[in-house]
Amino acid sequence: MNKHLLSIDDLDVNDVSVLFDTAAEMHDVQRRSVKKLPALRGRTVVNLFFEDSTRTRSSFEIAGKWLSADVINVSAKGSSVSKGESLRDTVLTVAAMGVDGLVIRHGASGAAQQVSQWTEAVVINAGDGMHEHPTQALLDAYTLQRRMGTLEDKRVAIVGDLTHSRVFRSNILLLHKLGAHVTVVAPPTLMPAGVTAWSKDAGFETSYDLDEVLPDADAVMMLRVQRERMNGAYFPSAREYTVGYGLTRERLAVLKPDAPICHPGPMNRGLEIAADAADAAQSAVLDQVSAGVAIRMSVLYHLLAGEESGA
């Protein structure tokens, strides 16, 4: 396995399988009354978050603590430019305290990759701008695999704001690696630049028509639509978006009854996903959250347990 987890591209199929196996073991630990494992005792993990996050940060925090690592949360909100300190200086300052693992969340694409060039610590990308969110993709695929047995030759639809989504970019890489056929669905204004050429290279399909894609889907992944994309900037209104691209009650009836519904959260109920869909038996949303802890335990374990302590 590579030293860092910056992108899904850092993992091969075998790495993913190893991570999933360990995650399954960790998942069992989660159900025990005493959850603590000694694997990372004496290791220090810093959650360095340049961007607000509740679920990803707490998921990494719980994962680290259950593995007995010392977990420290550092919030560095606001761009380093506005503070007059370069990103490199911020990172070197934190790393100089004697950190073994840096879990980094940053609003800028590529930030985790840049950071990995400046520090000896293991760097785990917890979301960099619109680029990648590899642990999210791992927990999504892990959840789907547990529900469906395998992703090989399954049809997965990813629906929503693709342009601004790091979840989509990581998922497209991982689902492809695991043999799934992915179709991404969005209005043209929320498709990334150059997606036609990209989809050809990377082996996925694109569509503007959710109703055409949905009946054949074995799983569907709804992406969050940010409020600031509305009001005519990318589409005319929330109402129009829901009619075109929301997983509504009507569309739920068309979806295969056993097809899992995923959403990385937080959900905009009534916008991209109807309450009926979010709460349906086939919804995997809460499974995703619990899988998130297991996957992050697995990632922390594999990247940090073998390492000599930096202290």
Binding site: S79, S80, V81, S86, L87, R88, D89, H106, G107, A108, S109, G110, A111, Q113, Q114, D128, G129, M130, H131, E132, T163, R166, R169, P192, A193, G194, V195, A197, W198, D201
Partner: protein, 441 residues
């Protein structure tokens, strides 16, 4: 005192010896020996006052002129000063550079322009010609004191809000009309800010989509070029398109020239060679504005430079302090160094490929830029009677660029460790060598 340059190939053509006296080319001899030098020897101080440069195997070009340099003084003297930028320019073979107005404070008054002009004369290595802002404080709204800058000692003729586009069509029209009174030209940073988000930082295309970086589409440049072409036709004024970066802009400029519209254009060395795929590692050294573009744009720019659609090569030398580049990619400063490497890049890309001759290089790096900027005494033909602004180039020298040895105060050098063929050996400003054997005198 006199200077003799022996055995240089003039603009890559005939080989001759040059005698330079009092800052002027006094004689060009293909027969060996100078008539007037002999007289000078016998009558006055003799040969001790004559410096000789052995230019065997070297190409002599009229001193290079850069239409587009950022010297950062005043305001960011930690990144570059007029003196350090002048050193980099001389080493790059330049005898004149135009210093862009986006300093702090902005060059938008006659006094500010004179200050830059004087700092350049004080450094004494190249003629530093200030560019004046088009709008006050580069704000894009009110005209700067264009006339007072033109009447100042600096005699400003080129105006630009470079770094920003003169975006408001009403402002652009008025500025173009106004500068007709003194033969000015507006060098436009063509980029419609409304066609990209505020954080746009690279070329919009497949790679930006994959990397999740907000991009500028080529059309953000092309629509402004097209608009300005029509404004130039309407006002009868001159528009110069700074750092053209797309094939679409080239098409528009080609059309405009065919119509007889008074428009000129420049391309940077980096847009002739570097492509957008360098961004895959998110290294901010490759972050520049306008952004690096795909192969097909680069090919179109080379063709346009060779066929004269693009008039000039200009560096857009943009030094930045290290800490301004060590941010996340979208937050890092725009720009890259260019003065010291420009000639080598053009040699490698245009001459090495056979697309251009050295005579063409003289045109695009000296004569056309001097004409566009209205700089008397630069951009000559190496003929008798002209000011002796001369650059000597070794066309076969192999250079491996090392950012650590740069005369610039900054290190944002995208050419680091790149191998290029063709190097500046000597630079002569009005008869006085500023660079000899590739080093500052």
């Amino acid at each position: 005192m006199s200077l003799v340059i022996k055995g240089a190939s003039l603009r890559g053509e005939k080989t001759a010896d040059l005698l330079i006296r009092d800052g002027v080319i006094a004689e060009v001899s293909t027969g060996g020996g100078f008539e007037t030098l002999v007289g000078a020897r016998s009558s006055t101080t003799g040969e001790s006052s004559t410096t000789e440069i052995d230019a065997d195997g070297l190409v002599a070009l009229p001193g290079l002129v850069d239409l587009h340099t950022h010297l950062r003084e005043p305001g960011r003297e930690d990144a570059e000063t007029v003196l350090t930028g002048s050193r980099a320019a001389a080493l790059g073979g330049f005898t004149a550079v135009l210093a862009m107005a986006n300093t702090s404070p902005v060059t938008d008054t006659g006094e500010a322009a004179e200050r830059i002009f004087d700092l350049g004369r004080l450094a004494g290595l190249v003629d530093v010609q200030p560019v004046g802002a088009v709008t006050r404080g580069l704000g894009g709204q009110e005209l700067a004191e264009l006339g007072l800058m033109a009447r100042s000692r600096a005699k400003v003729r080129v105006f630009s809000d470079d770094g920003r586009c003169v975006h408001d069509p009403r402002v652009m029209r008025r500025a173009l009309e106004y500068i007709r009174a003194f033969g000015g030209v507006i060098s436009q940073h063509s980029q419609d800010p409304d066609l990209a988000g505020p954080t746009a930082c690279c070329h919009e295309g497949e790679l930006s989509g994959r990397l999740g970086l907000p991009g500028w589409p080529g059309i953000a440049e092309e629509t402004i070029v097209a608009r300005d072409v029509m404004l130039a036709r309407h006002t009868g004024s001159r528009v110069h398109v700074a750092h053209v970066s797309t094939a679409g802009s080239v098409e528009v400029i080609r059309w405009a020239k065919a119509q007889g519209i008074d428009i000129t254009a420049e391309v940077t060395p980096h847009h002739l060679l570097l492509t957008t795929d360098l961004l895959a590692g998110y290294d901010p050294v490759y972050k520049v504005n306008p952004p690096l573009r795909p192969d097909e744009d680069v090919a179109a720019l080379r063709d346009a430079l060779a066929d004269g659609t693009i008039d000039a090569v200009a560096t857009d030398h943009a030094p930045h302090a290290r800490h301004d580049k060590e941010h996340a990619f979208v937050d890092a400063a725009f720009g890259m160094l260019g003065l010291e490497t420009a000639l080598s890049v053009v040699s490698e890309v245009m001459v090495g490929s056979g697309a251009m001759t050295w005579s063409d290089v003289a045109r695009v790096m000296s004569q056309s830029p001097a004409r566009i900027a209205g700089l008397d005494g630069h951009g000559g033909t190496l003929a008798v009677g002209q000011p002796a602004n001369i650059t000597l180039v070794d066309p076969d020298a192999m250079v491996v660029v090392d950012r650590a040895t740069s005369a610039s105060l900054s290190r944002n050098n995208p050419w680091h460790e790149r191998k290029l063929t063709g190097a500046v050996v000597a630079t002569v400003l009005r008869g006085a060598p500023t660079v000899l054997d590739g080093g500052l005198v």
